[in-house]
Amino acid sequence: MKIRLNIGAISEPLQSEQFKTGDWGTEWSFVDREKCTACRVCEQFCPDGCIEVKEIEGKEVAVVDHNYCKGCGVCASVCRYGAIKMELKELFKVDVC
């Protein structure tokens, strides 16, 4: 099979989005929609651009895209309303004996 190459290794924009980084971390962030005030602070802080304020059921709230969330915990550390929790992924919830 032949591949197509752009000369000079010139790349098209935003190709990285095809690569999901949601499986990198051991945790994911979750937003408590009751507590969230849609202040957008977490949005500005997320290094991966994967927490965004959206309208859900008539209310503006932060929503995490777990396709990309690396579980760094930055968002949780900046939310002044305690609306974000970090949770261990099911996969890592193992008993250590």
């Binding site: 190709q15 999901k20 980084t21 991966d48 651009g49 895209d65 579980g71 930055v74 550390s77």
Partner: protein, 292 residues
Amino acid sequence: MRFFGRGHGACPGCGLAIAVRNILEALEGKCFVVNPTGCLEIISSQYGRNAWGVPYIHPLFDNAAAVACGISEALKVLGREDEGEVVVLAGDGATADIGLTLHGMFDRNHDVIYICLDNEAYQNTGHQQSALTPLGEATTTTPAGKLMLGKIGRKKDMVAIALAHGSPYVATSSAVLPADIRRKVKKAAKIEGAKYIQIHCPCVTGWGIDGKDVVKVGNLAIETALYPIVEFENGKLLTVRKVKERKPVEEYLKIQRRFRHLFTSPEGRKVIEEIQKIADENALRYGIDLKK
């Protein structure tokens, strides 16, 4: 509209990535990014996995400023100036060590916003010292050993260098101050000439911190006065981020692996005192302490 795509390869909690997203959003994507070799380049510009939603060029490690000058002048000659700002996003090594073309950019005052993303060492190549590595930091080329307790000497004063060149706008900021980054970048965009902004960018991997502590560490750098957040226009000090209750530098140092040896070695105390002296001097120089 996204300007810095998801799916990039930065470590979870990377300060550079926070800064870059805010810079691009401040400019609403109307910019040309010149990015020398370093972490940011590696996490964002693999062929076929490009994370950039703005025109981007990675030339070499050592020539970003000059390449930016070339783009800036070409846009003028070709009548395409309103397409956007020319922005350099360079590491501290690329800026303070090897990137000598920075001086030509200042000297000829090309219309460029030069932003140094200061993670205080060569992180991309595995944490070696740069001229912006702070005193006492253990890096792989300034390791903590019997004779040496990490980096010798202070951070090079790039702000003073930019000011000495007569740069029309010089500022510092931090990845943990997104609103401050946005304001300063927007302001720089309105000013003609060679601007310099240096942004403190916590690096989870190199500094040995947890993603959850990135913001805390970044804030402590400001609250100890180890990283003064200042702004100069035409050489005049415009704003300084004041601190109500300045914290002792230990608080900042002790939560980072890169400074751990200062607390375990008997000689470490002296270095910590030396670092405290730097913080005190910064506070005095910029009037950081909020008068009670």
